[in-house]
């Protein structure tokens, strides 16, 4: 993993999460803004996946448990899709909060992925 990219990614996910929770509390239904923020979070996860695959070949070797790392990454990739599906089915302010909850969960998961990448197995 690339530390600065991961840091930026966590920051984006936190901002997107807080924004959507705030929009939901304000009574806003899922909009281009909230779904766009979620799409950005998902896009960064896809970039992270590419980084994780390419990094070892460029000398950026992980020392942690890669099974655990990829379980996190694949789960993280699913979360925004599930939240977006939810938002399209249920058009209420609660869906906006669900989007926010999902983005905040991604922030935690990406933070954990960085820990796993850098923590030696055993």
């Amino acid at each position: 993993m690339i530390v600065w990219f991961t840091t930026a990614q966590v920051a984006v996910a936190v901002v997107a999460g807080l924004l959507c929770v705030a929009l939901g509390l304000a009574g806003r239904k899922p909009s281009d803004l909230s779904l766009g923020a979620l799409a950005l979070v998902e896009l960064l996860l896809v970039v992270q996946l590419v980084v994780a695959i390419v990094a070892p070949a460029t000398g950026n070797e992980p020392v942690g448990n890669m099974l655990e790392f990829y379980t996190y990454l694949v789960s993280a990739l699913i979360v925004p899709l599930a939240a977006a599906f939810w938002a399209l089915v249920d058009r209420s302010k609660w869906s906006t909060m669900v989007i926010g909850t999902a983005a905040l969960a991604i922030a935690v998961m990406v933070y954990r992925m960085q820990e796993i990448w850098t923590t030696p197995v055993g």
Binding site: N65, L67, E68, T71, Y72, S75, I78, V79, A82, A83, W86, D90, S92, W94, S95, M97, V98, T101, A102, A105
Partner: protein, 150 residues
């Protein structure tokens, strides 16, 4: 003016509530979904990666994961059968987090590696401890009283 109050609101409310879950309950379902995913992911890693190290703890992780999935689905679906299933699943979680949480403190040897429920769900911000309480409270407040709602 009268038209806009009672009846109109009631029909609007019933139209917006096809399922049992509505309002803040949806956030409960979302958090349950995330926890189900977290528990499933963890037990997948434990069982695929190192099952022989702590079979009891890892089997328990898998069981917990299944129960979280059942609880999530049961909360979403309406009908008295699902309602009962939600009660069973969430009560089981409550008992699980209390029993395993207590045992892991009294006798850490029993669980050499963490499960979702070890130390009352410490590894998951105590969400596994708080969630069943909220879930049971929510279920108690939302009994399917109006006949057998399909």
């Amino acid at each position: 003016m009268i038209k806009n109050t009672g009846a109109a609101r009631a029909t609007e409310a019933s139209r917006e509530r096809p399922a049992r879950i509505s309002g803040i309950g949806r956030i409960l379902v979302a958090v349950y979904g995330v926890l189900a995913l977290a528990a499933t992911g963890r037990s997948f890693v434990q069982i695929v990666g190192r099952f022989s190290e702590a079979p009891v703890a890892y089997s328990l992780s898998a069981l917990a994961a299944v129960v979280y999935i059942v609880a999530t689905v049961a909360l979403i679906r309406s009908g008295s059968g699902w309602y009962r299933l939600a009660w069973i699943a969430i009560s089981f979680e409550m008992a699980g987090v209390l029993v395993v949480g207590l045992l892991s403190i009294l006798d850490p040897q029993l669980f050499p590696d963490d499960t979702v429920w070890s130390y009352f769900g410490r590894g998951y911000l105590f969400i596994p401890l708080v969630l069943p309480i909220l879930g049971l409270w929510w279920l108690a407040r939302h009994r399917p009283t109006r006949g057998a709602i399909a």
